[in-house]
Symmetry: C2
Subunit: 457 residues, 2 copies
């Protein structure tokens, strides 16, 4: 979300002159998301002054469109009474996410002012660990009983509609709250000609649902696969706990894409957007990886040292060290990228490893031969001027071929191994894979050089 | 989607024994997405034999859950009459996407058998270029007039519901088809107590819409920002052309995440999933980049050659070449990753460049100093054994500091420059940025070495 400063002067003017009617009009005429945009760059007290000019429900809706750091800042500066009212109006899932970020002392102040039923709901939702379906769900959904008629269902939904995040799926539960079926609002509306038909006869009993402790990625996959607007979350007794709506899935996918890119690029994912993240936080999130990679890269210096009195005394061999290293690193990064993205999209499984090795091996050979040919020409140009130069220069293409094959195989296998032992394959950043292949590349290069050059000396 | 082989033997058995009732039951009792899963691994004729046992509408729905290559294979092997019927039942947006992939000779065969209105719709949608809102929309949506009453609206929607992808937003258009408002099905159902109220009084006139030639990324951003189920697509006269539904946005986000990861990892995005892509296609999509990167990396050899008779004769300096290069590459990749992902999430704009430079510069200095310190210790350990070794070994930390700063600044600036001149910043893969910084790193290293070592000699 890019904050918009367009209306800032007008809003400040209205606040200064006490133009309550104008502010009320502003808060209601524009979409809540747009109000959030326009007030995002106001100071905290100013933003709250503007938001005061609307009813608590709209206020909470506008508030929910701010990003998390802004929400925290606003809430921590409110009087306990206002904070309690605002938090009470938020949707259950957003509420819990927000409370986790708030200073516990502030929470302790306003929590007692929140109605008990909501407080209980908060404690209930807080039990679900992050990255599970339970932590993503809202507990407000439209429920019906099997024996209800179409006519009664419509008026029941009409009365529930105000307070629900979505009324497009109506969940049918029994006395024990067990999920027995689902009916779309569309099917209900289509059945309006049969007001006395019973919901149990109309509902679809093949309900796609997820367990509360299911992974959030699996939730996104199910919602995408079945084109759902919302997915019900159940416990082990198949009792209905809540629903996860399409907009939370869309937000999750967008956040996840950024996080996965950052992880692959060797940056620990940021909670904030780039410009909001503090510089120490940014530095730390990259520094950690960068130091690990640097210490790993030090191995290349120690590896090279072993050859200080051998191939390294041959100046032209030194010229190609960066080239060899980057060939291995690049082909390894490519394979890792392909495998990690295929794993996260669900296109491959670790059990496909044999097919993957075969495919990567073929690619590695073809690519290694092509690059090796270019490398050979360069080695002839820059390379040895001794009598066996045609043979000595072969050191470069042979090494390139071997390094590219090693790169593709290791780049593909390391993420699969991670996935297999239950770690997130995206933790394996591509710079990390490139770093491992760097050391392997140097050992291969120096070994080939010793064999070829001393073999023909 | 992972194809499921669980039911394959049963389905083959039912086909062999001509168990029509069993097959009909299978096609209707299970969710269409699940039927697609279970039949995905059948041979083309077998899958079609199974799908025959259901009505044309359900058949098209099941078919739409196959992935694109499977759809192409199936359709190209159908009799023209069957193909025309199937294509006629698909949703307008899916239909056009599919036809683009089909052998034109096959299309020419069945196209005349499709009803004229659908054929016109196809030609109409084909006009919109890929990656625009127009290419993503479906032309089927629920429409109402301002003067309709709630009672008539409900029965009108009930009769339209069967053929529409979504009835959750009802779009209000005037005689010229211009979009004047929107009403959610939820608001309509809530108003059921006032059957004679007029839609024009209930509708929301602040409709969030997109132009047909708007970028698909902008569509996803609007849908995410306003938590929409569907977004209307309009032409320049604000006439309603179609809608883009939430499920297409979810699919787009999932595909885009994979493509962006591939691009950043230096692989031209694949149309197919990893295992479905042919090996020559895979090799080509990476080979292109790998060859460009390799030729770029050759510059490092030519750059080093300039120093063949200078610092390169100092063996210990050579040991640190890979370390220097990878420090620059890694810090550059990190910055590029942060900036590219922030750009694509809409968190920053090219006009923020001054703030970004300042932030990257601070990070570069801090990180460079930390890594430089580690590098200095390593250089003292592995480094010069001359009398001025404390000073000569400074070559490593000074270079690391400069290279990390250069890496962060270039890694951040290159994607911003790309964005500014209108190219996709993700085209700038992180290996490409690392490649540029490699050459810069060598020049810095050798220059610092000459200055420090000859300065104290």
């Amino acid at each position: 979300m890019c904050p918009n400063t367009l209306y800032i002067p007008e809003l400040r003017e209205m606040l200064a002159t006490g133009d309550d009617a104008g502010l009320q009009d502003f808060c209601t005429a524009v979409h809540p998301a747009a109000v959030a945009d326009f007030t995002d760059m106001l100071r905290t007290e100013e933003a709250w002054q503007v938001l005061r000019h609307t009813d608590p429900q709209t206020r909470a809706e506008i508030f929910s469109f701010y990003d998390l750091p802004k929400q925290v800042e606003l809430l921590e500066n409110l009087a306990s009474k206002d904070a309690a009212q605002l938090v009470g109006e938020l949707s259950p899932d957003d509420r819990v996410d927000l409370l986790e970020e708030i200073d516990p002392l502030v929470v302790a102040d306003f929590l007692p002012l929140i109605p008990e039923s909501i407080r209980r709901n908060i404690f209930h939702l807080q039990r679900y660990p992050e990255d599970t379906a339970g932590s993503m769900m809202t507990t407000e959904f439209a429920r019906l009983e099997e024996t209800t008629t179409v006519k009664n269902a419509i008026s029941s939904i009409a009365s529930q509609a105000e307070n629900l995040e979505t009324v497009y799926y109506l969940y049918v539960v029994d006395r024990q709250d067990r999920l027995s079926g689902v009916l779309s609002a569309r099917d209900l509306v289509s059945s309006i000609g049969r007001p006395d038909a019973v919901i149990g006869d109309l509902m679809d009993t093949h309900v796609i649902s997820v367990d509360a402790d299911e992974d959030t990625e699996e939730v996104a996959e199910q919602v995408a696969k079945y084109d759902l607007l919302a997915i019900p979350v159940v416990d082990q007794q198949h009792r209905m706990l809540g629903i996860i709506t399409h907009d939370d899935v869309i937000d999750f996918l967008r956040e996840q894409a950024v996080e996965e890119t950052q992880r692959l690029g060797g940056v620990a994912p940021l909670d904030d957007s780039y410009l909001r993240a503090s510089i120490p936080r940014l530095t730390w999130n990259r520094g950690l990886w960068l130091i690990i990679l640097f210490i790993g890269a030090l191995l290349t210096a120690f590896a090279l040292e072993q050859y200080k009195d051998g191939p390294l005394t041959t100046a032209w061999l030194v010229l190609f060290i960066p080239l060899i290293i980057s060939s291995g690193g690049n082909s390894g990064s490519q394979s890792a990228t392909l495998i990690i993205s295929a794993l996260s999209a669900g296109h491959i499984k670790p059990s496909d490893w044999a097919r993957i090795i075969a495919r990567e091996l073929i690619q590695g050979i073809v690519l290694g031969l092509v690059l090796g040919l270019i490398g050979y020409l360069a080695a002839l140009w820059l390379g040895p001027d001794d009598s066996a130069h045609l043979i000595h220069a072969l050191t470069v293409p042979i090494t390139v071929l071997l390094v590219v094959i090693a790169g593709t195989l290791m780049g593909a296998m390391l993420p699969l191994i991670f996935e297999r032992i239950g770690w997130d394959p995206a933790l394996m950043s591509t710079p990390f894979i490139a770093g491992i292949i760097d050391v392997v590349g140097i050992v291969i290069y120096m070994t080939v050089a010793i064999l070829l050059i001393s073999g023909t000396a």
